[in-house]
């Protein structure tokens, strides 16, 4: 018996040893060769968003504001002038469908500017899109959809021509066949959602919406059985755009589908969908662009057209390993387009490296900031450390103190020695206790005020703004002075420039300054509220929420953002506080805002009336650090992480980002030469929609900053030395209490004491 027990014990020990022997071990594994890579295709002049692929490898390019352009299989291009661009009635072209022979159908909205009756009919749904058709010879005629299966007022949003030239169209609830000569519409089948793609395989048409694939037999005129595998695929891969194309390989009809997660193939009639290219290793994974069209080429390659005038050719490269041998992990709490973009560039430069970009709060789930931080800390505790970490909304001191972050002085010193970076901004990140830099912002926002000269000329502290508001209120007893709808808006617009002044070097809270802040903002709110009665205030809030606030934009963001404020044609306010978020567009925005304000005030002398300057608040020379990047001490690829950091700090990276994404609000680059270059770029994209009419009635299609304004901006960058980072405990606490102070629940003194009491526990911790 004892022997049996011993044998059993021995066997158990052996099994445990065998089981645990693989844990944590690394084995040298041979990686097979060959995977899809991509290269950018140079497009003809113009701004294209869509492509219609032709079977012979040629394609048509078009954009909603750019004429149809034909590109042959060898890449030669010529515009096919159909004359539709010259149609004076077209305001915005919404949808376009192109046939292989160049015939096209267009849907557009009627121009109803200044025509209230037409606009009312459009808003009520009485009229819908207008359509016209241009045949392959360029003959154009209006298309008026009608027929038994078509309900008047239904918008046709998706068009596709069959190989025989028949036009098919889809509304948000049905698919139709349209006679291009007579406009007669035949309803074919109902759909659950808007069909977004239609492809043709002989007599069968496949129409796909975001969750279902419909197979329609055109000869028999009936719907065929669906495919469960395709339905599942569509419902889980359609977000961010999905494109389809048919190919013919080895006597099998194959449906190719491209989306954010990669390129997939489905053998017609089968039930398996197979991934052939990983989105993360190709341009398909770019979250800033949506795939718009896919073309299958004879040589086994693919062309993918993306939104934003961008096309790539995906080709199979046998010299590349099937998956990269090294991995660089980049982590940020929230999605950061610039960081993702840098990862793609880095991967292009290092085909043997996979850049894995991970976000703590990816938007699709309800993970809070606190949960995301907890998850990150668990990872760090377990030794699963990212190589690069974006420290926005994170406590840099804490992570540096605990040895998570690596000292960056060595990497940054050459940039500082050569005067490439704004030293004052980099030095603003130095941790005083350790006298080292652990993270560096790639971009910054600068605080600005803008308003009528007579109230604020030359003054910019918090008290001066209050005094200016009081003067403005005396002159304008009714309406808003600031663009603030709720108490929180006042706090959000003023706190960033005051918060850094509330703490001493030892982290202690300056209650006096906080009290002064609460007194000032309370007065600001009272002045602003004095221009409305309760009903007026409510109407002002409702009107602004409805018309100017997109769902994904906080009202405070709008207040911050001059450019956005300008675009929305505010002008009902006398003073704007906010941040300059972009170099060129931002400067243009200031001018548009100025123009709007002056126009609203019916002042003719724009330059003498409106002025703007840095807004110092209580702290002075504040900059809002954005995209703050640090490297992890325990990262697995320290060399690669260093290279990645150098890429982030490089001029091409910063400039290219701006060239590709002129309208984003990442901030002003901390590289001096990049900032200068961006301001000098003569690119229509930067000012295309920045046109404005000044009070004298002169139309300014574009505005470029003057040399004086550029110098003013450079000086502001040179002066910025006090770093504001959002998301600190003090800010959250001061914000919560501040709302109560503004609502009258607490006096400013009580509010400051309340913050002090709350902060006391945090300090004790």
């Amino acid at each position: 018996m004892k022997k049996k027990v011993r044998v059993l014990l021995f066997i158990m020990v052996c099994v445990m040893c065998a089981a645990f022997s693989g844990c944590g071990g690394s084995q040298e594994e041979e990686i097979p060769m060959g995977r899809y890579a991509d290269r950018e295709v140079k497009l003809p002049p113009g701004t294209f968003d869509y492509m219609h692929p032709c079977p012979d490898g040629s394609y048509y390019l078009y954009g909603l504001d750019t004429e149809l352009t034909y590109v042959d299989a060898q890449g030669g291009s010529k515009a096919k002038d159909r004359g539709w661009e010259k149609n004076a009635n077209i305001h915005v072209k919404y949808e376009v469908g192109v046939a292989d022979n160049g015939a096209a159908v267009f849907a557009y909205a009627p121009r109803f500017w200044n025509d209230e009756e037409l606009e009312a009919r459009w808003l009520s749904g009485d009229i819908c899109y207008l359509y016209f058709y241009v045949d392959e010879k360029g003959e154009k005629h209006a298309l008026e959809p009608h027929g038994e299966g078509y309900q008047k007022g239904t918008n046709l949003n998706t068009f596709a021509f069959s190989p025989e030239g028949e036009l098919y169209a889809a509304s948000d609830h049905a698919v139709y066949r349209v006679n291009v000569e007579t406009g007669e519409v035949e309803s074919l089948f109902a759909t659950e959602k808007q069909v977004k793609s239609m492809v043709f395989m002989g007599d069968v048409m496949l129409a796909a919406d975001d969750g279902k694939a419909y197979f329609y037999d055109r000869a028999e005129g009936k719907l065929l059985d669906g495919n469960g595998a395709l339905d599942v695929f569509l419902s889980s891969h359609s977000s961010g755009g999905l494109v389809m194309a048919l190919g013919d390989r080895e006597n099998e009809q194959i449906l190719y589908m491209g989306c954010r997660t990669g390129l997939y193939r489905y053998i017609w009639g089968g039930s398996v969908i197979e991934q052939i290219a990983d989105g993360q290793m190709t341009a398909l994974g770019d979250t800033q662009r949506s795939p718009r069209a896919l073309q299958v080429l004879d040589n086994g390659a693919f062309r993918v057209m993306f939104s934003g005038n961008y096309m790539v050719e995906m080709y199979y490269d046998e010299t590349l390993p099937a998956r990269p041998a090294k991995e660089l992990t980049v982590y940020s709490l929230e999605e950061n387009g610039w960081i993702r973009y840098a990862g793609q560039l880095f991967q292009k430069e290092h085909p043997d490296v996979l850049v894995r970009y991970e976000t703590g709060m990816d938007g699709d789930n309800a993970v809070s900031r606190e949960d995301a931080l907890r998850n990150l800390n668990t990872r760090l505790l377990a030794g699963d450390v990212p190589d690069v970490i974006v420290m926005d909304q994170m406590d840099i001191e804490q992570y540096a103190d605990k040895g998570v972050l690596r000292e960056l002085d060595g990497i940054l010193q050459p940039y500082l020695d050569d005067g490439i970076l704004y030293q004052n901004i980099v030095e603003g990140m130095r941790m005083t206790e350790k006298n080292k830099i652990y993270s560096v912002p790639m971009m910054v926002y600068l605080p600005l005020w803008l308003g009528e000269k007579m109230y604020l000329d030359g003054e910019d502290s918090l008290e001066d703004i209050v005094a200016g508001m009081e003067k403005a209120r005396q002159k304008h007893p009714e309406g808003a002075i600031l663009y603030t709808l709720y108490p929180k808006d006042v706090l959000l617009q003023t706190m960033p420039v005051c918060l850094p002044a509330w703490t001493g070097e030892d982290g202690s809270l300056d209650v006096e300054k906080l009290t002064a802040y609460y007194q000032a903002v309370r007065r600001m709110w009272e002045i602003d509220c004095a221009g409305f009665d309760d009903a007026g205030r409510e109407a002002w809030q409702k009107n602004n929420m409805e018309w100017y606030a997109p769902e994904d934009m906080d009202m405070a963001d709008i207040g911050f953002n001059f450019q956005y404020a300008a675009q929305q044609n505010f002008g009902e306010t006398w003073l704007q506080l906010g941040f300059l978020m972009t170099p060129q567009v931002g400067m243009t925005g200031i001018h548009v805002t100025k123009a709007n304000m002056a126009a609203d005030w019916q002042e003719k002398e724009l330059e003498d009336t409106v002025t703007y300057d840095a807004y110092t608040g209580q702290a002075g020379n504040v900059y809002w650090a954005r995209t703050i990047v640090g490297l992890c001490e325990q990262g697995k690829e320290p060399k690669l992480a260093e290279e990645y950091m150098n890429l982030l700090l490089s001029d091409p990276m910063m400039r290219k980002w701006w060239l590709d994404k002129p309208r984003n609000h990442s901030g002003l680059t901390i590289r001096k030469d990049s900032l200068g270059d961006i301001l000098d770029i003569d690119n229509i994209e930067f000012g295309q929609t920045m046109g404005f009419k000044d009070p004298t009635g002169v139309n300014h299609p574009n505005f470029w900053p003057t040399e004086e304004e550029k110098q003013w901006l450079y000086q502001m960058m040179e002066d910025a030395s006090c770093c504001y980072r959002p998301g600190t405990m003090l800010e959250e606490c001061a914000m919560e209490v501040g709302v109560r102070v503004l609502e009258g629940e607490l006096t400013p003194e009580e509010g400051a004491k309340e913050v002090e009491r709350k902060m006391a526990i945090a300090m004790e911790e």
Binding site: V5, L8, M12, E370, L373, R374, N377, L380, L381, D395, Q398, Y399, D401, K402, G403, V404, M729, C733, E745, E754, R757, K758, A760, I761, A762, E764, E765
Partner: protein, 274 residues
Amino acid sequence: MFLLPGFSGVMVFYLLPFLEVVRRSFLKSGNSAFVGIENYRTVWGNGAFVLAVRNTFLYMAVGVPLLMGISLILSLLLRNLLLRRRLVSAMLLPMAVPAAVMVLTLQILIDRQGVINGVLTKVSEQMAALPAFAAIDYLNTEWALVVVVCSFLWKNTGYMVILWLAGLAALPKEVEEAAQVDGANRWQNWHYIIRPGLSGSFFTVGMLSVLQIFKSYREVWMVAGSYPQEHIYFLQHLLQNWYLKLEFDRMAALTVIMSLVLLIVCLLLQKRLE
């Protein structure tokens, strides 16, 4: 031999991780340098720790006896009622309410502009003899602990009543009837028959009440955040905040201290029971 599988599980999932925690309590988080008892000293001298311990024990000292007492009285009252089952079911309702709904309800009640303040203001306006009532921000004053204790009682009383009722049902009716025949009054019936018979239930209800005290942290956090009013700042707040601040070394030391305290309490209880 038969103990081996169970022991292995305990080893792998409890003892080894605990030993790792003990090890980390002597190291500095980040660079893992040995710091001796520095972490323990830091925890002991930490003002937030002292506050959290004091509040947690005060909450326990107030909440547990109140819960046990109220639920026992209710169960004694309900014991012979015909509608007992329905009433008990109704009392269980707060347990079924999701935490988010409970928090929302609490906010509606105790907000500065909430129902309680509204009612009290109305009453003081109606009755001229009473002094004018000023709305109270319950969660940001000393009232915070009262609010937390009340919500704890509201949520858990029903469940504890069921446990007491189960204990009462297990008592032999004959003994009570015999005592009544012998002329025992209600107090004697309670003191000499019911109370000794409920000693087993007393232990169970007491333990569960203590556990519920720790579990109620979620509601407190949801209603008042990571840094609540100082009277409702508990040990869980401290641990959660330290975790967010990467203070793993302090957390490890605190865990060891708490484990030791619990061990001593258990040993004392065991000795007393023996």
